[in-house]
């Protein structure tokens, strides 16, 4: 059942989406299977002899084999239809579809959507399938168990979540029945060693968007934060021009608000952080009203235009570089702290107040020639990794560099630091 290029593009997308859902379901089943195998081993290790573990193992092994076979087939189908490789890029605009620039909920679609959809869940699953196949060939039960222990502790929960989120967002009518299943499974595994949840007593009350903003206002009083519904932000961005910021502010304040009262809190999808005279950061929240940031971009405070959104890029090199760096920081904040991502991101952005004044902590200069682009740039890197000083139950050790919010590095200098 290969999808041929002559099929209508929306059908191809739907078929690919279906396959990816199946892949996700299979992955979840495989994890449950691995759990059962471990349980069987545990029982077998008990002093009381019993035949039960043997039966369980035999049964589980055959169903696991079947599942992996299915996953392999699915992976092959996805590969053939071009979802997992870059063959689509050679054909213009992915199956001839002209992606809508603005989705039903007002979100702007970026080119990377299909990579995000397909790559994270599908590709990593196929990759792990391949590795399992090799282990399987060795007929070594011990190796298989070790493999399970190591591989399934990788937090692919995040990949699955991102995948289902994206699917729900861009194709809301395709139905999302696997998601409830997955979240059920992932919740079951959350308590085990693979989760990296860090509890901080002092930050535990930052649960809603209002909390985050109120707290940030206290910590960084000279930074202006406003929230917008998505379409309102597009209007504001288009009317921001290179004329004096003070002139445009009063007219457009009606659109944004520093989250007072209960003005459509559940529809807030864009957070704008303005450090006067330094930069303007645009953060997109998904789903609207949550505290889950999914993209951030930096611009000059004087810039304006419809390209100014959380996935756009500034025309100036300095902000472009910060945006690229911020993507990594965002991933880090999302992966280490549950529900703290937005707060940490905003706080980290505030550390850029000194963008044009703070000297690089390594070479002690402000401007430095960036070797790859031969541009003179100020230190655009601010460190974002930090240590948690409370107990964690993580198997993977967290980074132990302490965050010093007052350090800054040039791109070149930070490469040496890392």
């Amino acid at each position: 059942m290969e999808s041929s290029p002559t099929e209508a593009p929306p059908k191809q997308v739907a078929v690919a989406m279906d396959r990816l859902s199946n892949a996700a379901r299979l992955i979840a089943d495989i994890r449950i299977g691995a759990d059962r195998i471990l349980e069987a081993l545990f029982i077998a290790a008990q002093p009381h002899p019993c035949n039960k573990p043997l039966h369980m193992l035999i049964k589980e092994e055959s169903s696991m084999r079947q599942r992996f076979q299915d996953l392999r087939t699915l992976g092959k189908q996805l590969e053939d239809s071009g979802v997992l490789n870059s063959s689509l890029r050679s054909r213009s605009k992915s199956w001839g579809l002209h992606m809508p620039l603005v989705c039903p909920d007002g979100a702007v679609v970026a080119y990377a959507w299909k990579r995000q959809l397909a790559g994270q869940a599908g590709a990593s699953a196929v990759d792990r399938t391949g590795r399992w196949v090799e282990v399987e060939k060795r007929h070594d039960l011990k190796a298989k168990i070790t493999f399970c222990l190591r591989i399934w502790q990788v937090p692919d929960r995040l990949a699955l979540k991102a995948f289902t989120d994206q699917k729900r967002r861009y194709f809301p009518d395709l139905g999302d029945e696997p998601s409830s299943e997955e979240s059920g499974v992932s919740k079951k595994h959350r308590g085990d060693q693979s989760s990296v949840v860090v509890k901080r007593d002092d930050l535990s009350e930052v649960k809603t968007l209002s909390d985050v903003l109120v707290r940030l206002e206290k910590e960084a009083p000279n930074v202006r934060i406003s929230t917008y519904q998505r379409l309102d932000w597009l209007k504001r961005a288009s009317s921001l021009s290179s004329s004096n910021e003070n002139l445009t502010e009063p007219n457009l304040n009606k659109l944004g608000t520093v989250l007072t009262g209960n003005m459509a809190k559940d529809q807030v999808a864009v957070v704008e952080l303005l450090i006067p005279s330094v930069l303007r950061a645009v953060i997109s929240l998904h789903p609207a009203g949550s505290i889950n940031p999914d993209a951030v971009s930096f611009f000059s405070p004087d810039e304006g235009g419809s390209y100014m959104h959380a996935r756009g890029f500034s025309v100036h090199n300095v902000y472009k570089h910060i945006t690229e760096f911020a993507a990594k920081a965002l991933q880090y904040f999302l992966s280490t702290e549950v529900d703290m991502g937005l707060y940490l991101l905003l706080r980290w952005i505030c550390s850029y107040q000194t963008l044009f004044t703070k000297l690089c902590s390594k070479c002690n200069r402000l401007l430095s020639m960036d070797k790859t682009s031969t541009l003179l740039l100020p230190p655009v890197h601010r460190p974002f990794r930090y240590s948690s000083d409370t107990k964690t139950s993580s198997v993977q050790s967290t980074n132990t560099q302490s965050v010093d919010l007052t350090t800054a590095f040039h791109i070149v200098c930070s490469l040496d630091e890392a």
């Binding site: 005279s277 000059s300 004087d302 044009f356 031969t374 541009l375 003179l376 740039l377």
Partner: protein
């Protein structure tokens, strides 16, 4: 508006500026991989009040040092500066016609700044020759350094100073008889704010002209 610093070439004592130096400086810009853009031009004019009756003295409030600057980035505007009283004014370019009709002031001489502009990352550099309109010889060399991302004078000061250091280092390798100088006019005295505007640029041109005149006299 983006930040601009206007630098002028200060020749060493006893030497004068010439086209050779201008060529060397242009090569300097090109050597740091500045991407050549289009031409740029600014015009500077002296205005003198028109006296109908030559025997009477000029009224007290008539200014003798009115200077007008027209900038390429604002083609419809004309900027007036009275340096002695720290006044800067942005006017529509129609004001020329009005002044002619009123017979109040007339342009008595003008100087052109012109050259090519270069893009260098977030910076834009404009190397210019200073040529009086009545003559054809080179009277000076200016360099306009523009930093595009921000428009706060305060925030950009360090960046501009460091750029200047980098630039001076590059130029000094050529062992030219002179160096670039930057004079920081006190914009506050003119009533201007931290946010950079074309009025700031106009004042910088006036200041530089003043320096070039002083240098020419010596």
């Amino acid at each position: 508006m983006t930040i601009k610093w206007l630098l002028h070439w200060q020749p060493n004592a006893g030497t004068t500026v010439n086209t050779q130096i201008h060529t060397e400086i242009t090569q300097c810009v090109e050597s740091i991989n500045g991407v050549k853009g289009g031409r740029w031009k600014a015009t500077f004019s002296y205005y003198r009040p028109i006296q109908r009756d030559q025997t009477m003295a000029l009224p007290f409030e008539c200014s003798r040092d009115l200077m007008g600057i027209s900038l390429q980035e604002q083609p419809n505007k004309l900027y007036f500066v009275i340096r002695s009283q720290r006044i800067v004014l942005e006017a529509d370019s129609m004001i020329q016609m009005i002044m002619d009709k009123l017979q109040s002031y007339r342009a008595r001489g003008s100087v052109t700044f012109e050259g090519y502009q270069y893009q260098f990352g977030d910076f834009q550099l404009r190397v210019g020759k200073v040529i009086p309109n009545s003559q054809d010889n080179l009277r000076g060399i200016v360099l306009e350094v523009e930093y595009l991302p921000i428009s706060s004078l305060d925030k950009s000061r360090q960046i501009m100073e460091e750029f200047l250091d980098v630039w001076q280092e590059t130029v000094s390798k050529r062992s030219l008889p002179g160096h670039f100088m930057h004079i920081d006019p006190n914009f506050v005295e003119y009533g201007l704010s931290d946010h950079y505007t074309s009025q700031h640029t106009a004042i910088q041109y006036v200041v530089v002209m003043g320096q070039l005149l002083v240098a020419a006299k010596n």
